[in-house]
């Protein structure tokens, strides 16, 4: 996080009553902040990111639709997005980290709106007075004063032309949302008072939309749904052409059904091949499983068997390497048996053994995947094939 933030907050907190002084301090710190931001901004795609933010919710940024509209419109404007978006992103990160903004307790309405966001959003030119006014205001009667101040300030001092147009649109939004503010003021106030205790997701009300709690929650829900549908759209091929929930759901259903049918078909194919495997593997496993006390008997069988398979398969002078391989072979052979048992019985994988098994097989399969070599080994046994590959790999 930037060092400018805490000092700015401190300024704000300490001098919340004295508007004038804090304004100057804020302006100074804001300028510093913006300078710092200018250095940092490089790789962000402000618009798409910000549009994403539209759907997401912000903590601590609630209550003041005017401000939200400001920032929204600020985001929508191309020319000067970077500073605001960076500010906004930092604000978001910051806001999500802290649950109790001291500001929020002191100022229920515009509450936890950090000064730099307010400043950036509300026209750099008009920062001083009306930001102070906004923060102080916590009742609807003050909105009228705000509007006038905003307009006045915006018109007098306009440094940046883009933000000037920005402010004009925002003043209109303030006026339109003022009416709705009065409706939702109680709900917002309640939300504001609750904010310091827990962290809520606060949704910004857009222009022309109702702001009571029910519709807000519904909007959140709808946005979640549309976000998920977008993911699905990327996942399911051919979903881009159809729009609307019904069409997309149709596509999704068809796709899931086709995938399931494919799995069914492939499993039938595997089942056809499986009996042959089973036969060979059962023979092998019987030899393994018979001795009541495995350790003394085990080394011989696998050693013998795999010696032969190894020599057949690789045939590249592996004799010297086979002995050190014994330990690993034995380990891999004994491990899977117990693993399978536990897996099938309780559906719980024995983690420790599973890990070693996974690692070894991962090596095997990495080799397989890369080289695609498989054919000559299957003739023996599946495990024989696996261990042979493993041996080759160790080499």
């Amino acid at each position: 996080m930037n060092s400018g933030l805490p000092e700015m907050l401190h300024c704000l907190n300490s001098t919340s009553e004295n508007c004038e002084m804090s304004v100057l301090e804020r302006q100074r710190s804001r300028l510093k902040w913006q300078q710092q931001q200018q250095e940092h901004l490089s790789h962000h795609h402000p618009i798409p990111y910000f549009n994403g933010n539209d759907h997401l919710s912000f903590s601590g940024f609630h209550g003041d639709q005017a401000l939200s509209d400001l920032v929204l419109n600020g985001g929508a404007m191309k020319p000067d997005p970077d500073v605001e978006h960076d500010d906004f992103r930092r604000f978001m990160n910051y806001g999500s980290g802290t649950t109790d903004f001291q500001m929020s307790s002191a100022l229920p309405r515009t509450v936890s709106c950090p000064p730099y966001v307010a400043a950036a959003a509300s026209v750099d030119s008009a920062a001083g007075k009306e930001s102070c006014k906004k923060r102080k205001a916590d009742r609807s009667p003050k909105i009228a004063a705000e509007e006038k101040k905003m307009k006045g300030c915006a018109e007098e001092e306009s440094k940046i032309t883009e933000q000037n147009s920005n402010s004009k649109s925002t003043t209109t939004t303030i006026s339109t949302s003022a009416n709705k503010n009065s409706k939702g003021a109680s709900a917002n106030a309640k939300k504001a008072s609750d904010a310091p205790k827990t962290d809520y997701i606060h949704v910004r009300a857009r222009r022309g939309q109702a702001t009571d709690s029910h519709s807000l929650a519904e909007r959140v829900r709808r946005e979640k749904i549309s976000e998920r549908m977008k993911y699905l759209q990327d996942l399911v091929p051919g979903c881009n052409k159809v729009t609307g929930k019904a069409g997309m759901l149709d596509e999704i259903i068809n796709y899931v059904q086709s995938l399931q049918r494919q799995v069914e078909f492939l499993s039938m194919k595997l089942a056809a091949i499986n009996p042959r495997l089973d036969f060979d593997i059962e023979n092998y496993i019987l030899k393994e499983m018979f001795p009541a006390c495995p350790p003394p008997m085990e080394p011989d069988h696998p050693h013998l068997q795999f010696n032969t398979s190894v020599e057949e398969v690789s045939g590249s002078g592996l004799e010297m390497v086979v002995d050190p391989m014994d330990a690993t072979l034995r380990r891999t052979i004994s491990a899977p048996i117990t693993v399978q048992q536990s897996f099938l019985d309780s559906s719980n994988l024995n983690q420790i053994q599973q890990v070693t098994w996974e690692d070894e097989l991962r090596n095997l399969y990495s080799m397989e995947y890369q080289q695609g070599r498989s054919t000559p080994f299957i003739s023996q046994q599946i495990t024989g094939f696996l261990e042979a590959n493993h041996v080759k790999l160790e080499m």
Binding site: S96, A217, L259, L266, I285
Partner: protein, 174 residues
């Protein structure tokens, strides 16, 4: 994930929802090569122990292995893993209910159509397709579907590879 509601519930905030999308937690984890390898190896293990015969034995084993690879983070995977027990129970219950259902006076339980919207009916169909998601709300259902589709794709890829492998192996010595 917390449910959305009108009341003031606590909810996780954006960074968390964004990290959710990342690999290791999101549906993109099914795309990695490592995951496919893990699945293939586990599948081979499971296939060795499939009971002879029985339709869909291999299919169930494959699904169970897939669900196990999900590490229990998703609803559908948990549903598949616990399905073995509940399936038997459900079959028994169904038989009991069919026998015990009184024939008189219950001829029109299905008549009144409550919801006709096509979206709603499609959502129901989808919820039946994804295992364990019959009574799940729409946003969660969509999330489960995303993960399920990714997992199914991985399953198809792995099984195709395996069948190719085994087919080639079977064909070679012949």
């Amino acid at each position: 994930m917390a449910e959305s509601s009108n009341s003031r519930k606590r909810r996780k905030i954006d960074p968390d929802s964004q990290t959710r999308i990342q690999p290791e937690t999101g549906p993109t984890r099914w795309r990695t090569q490592a995951e496919q390898q893990i699945y293939s190896s586990k599948l081979i293990d499971a296939l060795r122990h499939v009971r002879r015969g029985g339709h869909g034995g291999v299919r169930d084993a494959a699904d169970r292995v897939l669900a196990a690879s999900a590490r229990g983070r998703t609803r559908w995977s948990r549903a598949i893993l616990t399905n073995r027990l509940s399936l038997r129970l459900a079959q028994i219950n169904r038989k009991h209910k069919k026998a015990a259902r009184p024939s008189a006076g219950k001829s029109r339980p299905r008549k009144p159509a409550k919801k006709l919207p096509p979206v709603e009916s499609k959502v129901k169909v989808l919820s039946r397709l994804v295992p364990g998601c019959r009574k799940v709300s729409l946003p969660n259902l969509l999330e489960e579907t995303t993960d399920y589709i990714a997992a199914l794709e991985m399953q198809v890829k792995a099984m195709t590879f395996l069948t190719g492998l085994l087919n080639a192996g079977a064909a070679a010595p012949a």
